[in-house]
Symmetry: C2
Subunit: 282 residues, 2 copies
């Protein structure tokens, strides 16, 4: 049976650091504050928001919600972003995406000041994950993967990391972040031929395919570490990852469970960005 | 013996398209114009400039040189960029890089308007190769690799492309461009372990390591296509690629020679961007 890479252990260590930083900031009279902007009532947005708010309250990060109706205009959202840009008390902004289709998402996302872009929504922030220039903050989910690997003592230098998925939210940036740590990276996707042949050669397999349990026993080999970024609901209404945990976990060395893996770490990464932004504002 | 993928054949086909476009633009009274900005007298800059100027003259692209002394200030260069930004007759700008160290390269490079960024020097242009947003133009050398593959009829979908080199000028963008064409990509670099084992599995191997003849016979296998981006001068003063041509060419299916491969295509790609920028200005 594989070692379980548990999100809660990583979160505990991140949270301790965050609370320590908040205490330090308090000495300078600064309270880290997150702005949460939500348009409409999308179910998964509301669920993520609930988790983020709870985590804010636990750790002592101040938050302010800006809620807009699903039929608001681009200018309505831009006005909120502008308010957040100009409010020195707000250090970071979480805007739920994708936005409703009638809104000019590109304009809205790029309106935020990079130093408040704790969720990596501006073109500059995400582009800099590629260029290595570190504008703003890296996206939270890929960084959560990195935090898990770091927490459990993985050294990526010279390792073969295979990523399944090429989204701009997870697949592409996590590959770049692993390469920055000197891993050799391969990105597989829906058009990849003979995927198991490629994934079986990985030292570390990061799965961000967005489809329930597509990675079975035939995709993995002994000694591997598997990071499952997927969050899906199966036909019985149970939460599951992109990896078939029951089939894969007996075979590999280490694996993140779903739930209990990457998901929970993401929120702490977000709040660590808010605290970091507050520190930089000093 | 491998098929030779010849730059001159690709260039001929690109040039025909460019000249056709120039003739079309002429009907609207527009002459595509390139601004060439050079700081100092770096030997390789001067050599590339000579080639670019010659190609401009052959094809009928107007050019204007802006030459600055090696000891000029950041403001001096910014003034030139501003002039280029505001000159409707200039459609593209080639600025030789790296700039002398005393200059604020980031400020200068990002001052250019994206629509004139034919050599992909702004953060937005290069970042958009990663995000897929296509701001400005992709970098010329990686696109030259793509043009060669396209010219010789390669279909990248589902192919395994291995890139050696992770520079922002070639390695990273060419990998992204191949993935956009639905290839499965792997990026190797100096920290990669057992590189030959990885490169031998490639359908297409793109070498941008920047070191003379580091890819020998042990890196390749039958049936492969090799694109050699390297331009080096060996110990006898001869130009050579990053691939040991004599050792590799008998083994693989197709290969670009050096000289005679990627290098010459790059200049035509640059001018195709200038012509395209002129078309967009209509």
């Amino acid at each position: 049976m594989a070692q379980l890479l548990l999100g809660k252990e990583v979160t505990a260590s991140l949270n301790a650091r965050i609370m320590n930083d908040i205490a330090e900031l308090g000495k300078s009279g600064i309270m880290p504050k997150l702005a949460i902007v939500r348009v409409g009532e999308n179910e998964s947005d509301v669920a993520y928001e609930r988790g983020a708010v709870k985590r804010c309250e636990t750790l002592g990060v101040v938050y302010e919600k800006f809620l807009l109706g699903a039929d608001c205009s681009t200018d309505d959202v831009l006005a909120i972003i502008e308010k957040i840009n100009n409010d020195d008390k707000i250090h970071g902004c979480l805007l739920f995406r994708p936005l409703p289709k009638h809104l000019d998402a590109e304009k809205i996302e790029n309106a935020l000041r990079p130093e408040k872009d704790v969720d990596c929504m501006t073109e500059r922030s995400i582009g800099s994950v590629f260029t290595g220039k570190n504008v703003g903050y890296p996206p939270c989910t890929p960084q959560a993967c990195m935090e898990i690997l770091k927490h459990y003592g993985y050294e990526l230098k010279g390792k073969n990391v295979v990523v399944i998925g090429r989204s701009l939210v997870v697949g592409k940036p996590v590959a770049m972040m692993c390469m920055k740590e000197n891993a050799t990276i391969t990105i597989c996707h829906t058009k990849t031929v003979n995927m198991p042949e490629i994934t079986k050669k990985a030292d570390i397999l990061i799965v961000a395919a967005g489809r329930p349990r597509i990675v079975g026993a035939d995709y993995v080999s002994e000694g591997q570490t598997v990071i499952d970024v997927g969050i899906n609901v199966d036909e019985n209404g149970n939460m599951c990852g992109d990896v078939d945990f029951d089939a894969v976990s007996p075979k590999v060395s280490a694996i993140t469970p779903v739930p209990g893996g990457v998901g929970g770490v993401t929120t702490s990464v977000l709040l660590s960005h808010v605290v970091d932004a507050a520190k930089r504002s000093l």
